[in-house]
Symmetry: D2
Subunit: 347 residues, 4 copies
């Protein structure tokens, strides 16, 4: 039994990790660690875990965690995460970091988007935790940087097309993304206040202003073996969970929807979390809500030939907690889908 | 391994049974049986089961089901269910019926609310599938009538108070219930059309006009050993899942909130699905969304002393599919909570 | 032309007053006054008023307001409102106060629920601004205390029944109320954070713990000429606007639904904002969303005879800004419905 | 006073026309005409008009309408509309048709997307009712084809850029549109059934499969004086009202966001319905909900220079009923904004 702790447990990712580990046959949750909520009953802080996780939210202490756990999920804000990750690694724990602190490979890029790094010695030494692209690296890594929710939804549909050379890499790739409000985290803010959110849609941080932009470009560039540029535009949708990325790509000759579907199915053969719809399908984030699944689809514009690729995930599961567990499975030699096969809670 | 089939599988209950059985360690889903969708791929009909349940929706044939399955969940509309239940019982299957056809004990009452009964010989021979109240009967029953969603949410908070004699049974008990739209089923209707539902709340079938009224009264009267009358008023809330029943009760002397909490905790001792909040708590249906849990609470009105009891469930899980699996567990000698302990998908 | 200013203008009530005054043929908005947003463009603070109200939010100065305006709507929090109201009255303005500071008639009751009063000399000298009940008093008042949203929705359906003696006044009256999230105001709070609100329903401050309780009792007691007690239980519904009050009442002999409808139609004869549905109708808050209307209905429980009375309003219009304008109309000798006849924005 | 009738009045457009005409100082609603609901009380069919529009929905009769009305809004489905429009024109009425039947200028294109035309003699003789682009034509037209909701939201932000030559016209223009569910009409359908819509987002009819595609291309091509191709991809958002079009455009040299804002402000000078936000703003459909306004914005992608243009409208107002009234104003010599200045019902 893999003993796992969660640091920064009192946000939505903590609740999801608690839920997923409860259903995991080979891993168990041994501690939920928080800061401002330390000492409060778990049932009060994470109401869904009432009756499942007894006791209180614990205060952070790396040594204690190392005694009780083999692995730790670190769900702290970027910036705050890096020093804690360094401590937890120093205490011998395998760390699955859900912040942005170890996702990028270029420290200058990190600094430009996030400021100074809190553990520069560790920077660049994590595996990027998108299992479908970095399975082997994750199996051997003691530090895994679990990807952001937007990069997961955006990279998955595009990866097979770049790998197979089905689309152009020159000229920007347009990624129009739509997310539910839980991606903004648990803290109440005006932009997620229900009266100003429930009956409207709006973009934010569009056109390259969102911090997930460099992460998407990094992964797409790796796949294309060339510098890829995206125009990334997220939109806030009046719902709690789900991300839909709609990606507009210029095809190379012969790349129609059927060819894209074929390439994607080959690429994701053996990946339990990814399902490729038939050509011209339209995935619905509701179909994956609460699950670790990604639904992908490909449609060709009849006249221009452009490819519209779509990826749908639950931002808190395949975009965060579920993907972290998927990485843990790989790192500990388990089947990647262990404990993660449950379908969406639909409708 | 208990082999289970679902008849009438292509509604929301079918999707939920597929989800719950996928996570069940001792039961497996062997067939999804539908009528209008027979022959269609399961992945098209129930999109959340894509990648989990292969193959097609099957046409109904009692003999074939009996060969492949030990138990069948029957999720047909009332009226249509009874004759099929009779056939499936005749074929030797244990049947868990989610319709209203076998929930009532008085055939005249059934006829008044639903019309002629389709299998009167079987009427009155089912166990009422509310495990917290009828555990022993369910263990021995070959036909279980799984309760309605409103009766589950309404009876659970009131049961301990009636059993312990904490509240008056004379004078009607007011049950003001609020439900998400999935309770109306999968068929698109004007009253669940998003534009006319998403930004409004309204009552329907209030003041004793809803068919769940006699079922609530039957169970409360059994508990009180006296005729109990309820004024039952359901409201449609702009959300997908969840029922909150707010019940107004006149206390007997000495019955304050703390006493009610104490009685409820004693009553539900050993019931894995029921959690009783501390006095004056307010359960949120979101806290149980996607789970088989019920959260109950008790508050006293300061001046009048009246007790406000609340029950929150997910109408599709503890109010339907999950409760049916809970009954199957009991019938097949398993721990009641097998496969049902997963917490809510919160937020 | 009546010149009106709004103090405390940067919340939802301010936006609604801006909207309603823009459509008002006899009144005009001359100033929006705020504190933390003073100096910011109105178009940034209240985005719906872009292109309609030029200029900036103004800082508070009673003398300046008195120069420019005849009347002022005061939309400050309770406690903060009273001293400002006293100043504005002192400067000669007619004041329509939307806070709770002048709604109650008993200073001790005020203190118990809200603490010390900020202008005790003025306490008890306001007209209670529910036009359908206090039309004459409002016509002659220089200070009008505009009622709370819950009291408006709760009192309107019950008033005719008490006035006509159709229901018992002994024993508590159960008021089960459901509100949209805008009633909580503009400040972002955990309890209105979309992810924890959008897919759940919960009660709060039930059983006499909500500050609108004494206001409801005050008005019902006036009508009954006897002390009336309510059990008031509000619920938060995942929508932006709307209140539905479902009220459970014990009838006196002969009081069926038809008789209640008849009494209500007589009572509200000539009231342009109130519509009484036919017996057994169920009002939907969506039908009044954005309008100053109240829809009322009456249903009898078949067996017990109890009356279920319902009232549906938009909490920001008939429950706040619209009602304030209705009072202004009366005070300035206009037809009560001037500028307020526009229907709901449906769907 | 302009006397106006509505044919096909019992959908959402009918309700909105009723609401807007009630607030219009120079026009009045004289008849609501329906087919399946003829003879039913208006208050039952369009619940928001209770107390505002007395009487019943009328059966269709062109001669009667011509006696009572000067103008008619025709809100019938495409295909059904053309023959009725021909009759109403024949009876001498000015017709504002909200269907697609007279929007296109090329009959072959119409046939490809909609089938045979029901009044080919009239085809091509309507003014395209987007006032900001065709003001003069509308002033002189007896038949106005009111644009679709998606074309309105998509064309408004792009028009100034094409007119000023700020963006390339070669290569497709990507239009990623997001709409609320009321755009699907009043008939209940599975795709707008709340349980399958409220907590998910999905695309539909993407990549040139939606019937509004040729209408968008027609208008953009007119503006560019060159053939413009769009990749149009609509998405269904879990809300009732609102369209946000996010448009991705390749700039010509010198075309940054500030230049686009400047061009748009010049282009829409004197247009009361259009507001251009400052550079890098993000409009929210909630800010225009219930109003006839369009909010436009322009942002440049820092590295690629591409322009992201956005347009936000209420699909039922500026995308349908409000725009039709705007056309009526022009046709009858009124100021274009008469009766249409009211702001959004926000929040």
């Amino acid at each position: 039994m893999i003993r796992a702790a969660v640091v920064g447990a009192t946000g939505y990712t903590g609740a999801e990790l608690g839920r997923l580990l409860a259903a995991h046959p080979e891993a168990e949750l041994v501690a939920l660690v928080g800061h401002s909520t330390a000492g409060e009953p778990v049932a009060e802080v994470l109401p869904s875990l009432r009756g499942l996780v007894e006791g209180e939210v614990r205060a952070y202490d790396a040594a204690t965690i190392a005694e009780e756990a083999d692995a730790v999920f670190c769900a702290l804000p970027h910036g705050a995460s890096a020093p804690k990750v360094a401590e937890l690694r120093g205490a011998g724990l395998r760390v699955f970091d859900l912040s942005a602190d170890f996702r990028l490979s270029d420290l200058d890029v990190y600094r430009r988007w996030y400021g100074e790094h809190g553990a520069p010695d560790l920077f660049g030494r994590a595996a990027y935790g998108l299992p479908e692209l970095h399975r082997e690296a994750i199996r051997g890594a003691d530090l895994v940087a679990v990807p952001g929710c937007f990069p997961t939804a955006s990279v998955l549909p595009v990866a097979p097309l770049l790998r197979e050379g089905l689309v152009e890499v020159e000229g920007p790739i347009v990624v129009d993304a739509k997310t539910g409000a839980s991606g903004a985290g648990r803290a109440a803010k005006p932009r997620t206040h229900l009266p100003e959110t429930a009956e409207g849609i709006r973009a934010y941080a569009i056109a390259g202003r969102h911090r997930h932009t460099p992460e998407i470009e990094q992964e797409l560039s790796r796949l294309a073996d060339a510098e890829v540029r995206v125009i990334f535009s997220p939109h806030l949708v009046p719902m709690t969970r789900g991300i839909l990325a709609t990606v507009y790509l210029r095809p190379k000759a012969g790349a129609d929807a059927a060819r894209c579907v074929e390439a994607a199915r080959a690429f994701y053969e053996g990946s339990p979390s990814v399902h490729v719809l038939d050509a011209d399908g339209n995935p619905d984030t509701l179909w994956v809500r609460g699950s670790n699944r990604a639904h992908l689809s490909y449609t060709a514009d009849e006249r221009s030939g452009w490819i519209v690729a779509q990826g749908a995930i639950d931002n808190l599961v395949k975009g965060a907690a579920g993907q972290a567990v998927q990485c843990l499975n790989l790192r500990f030699g388990l089947d990647e889908g262990t404990g993660l096969r449950q379908p969406a809670t639909w409708p």
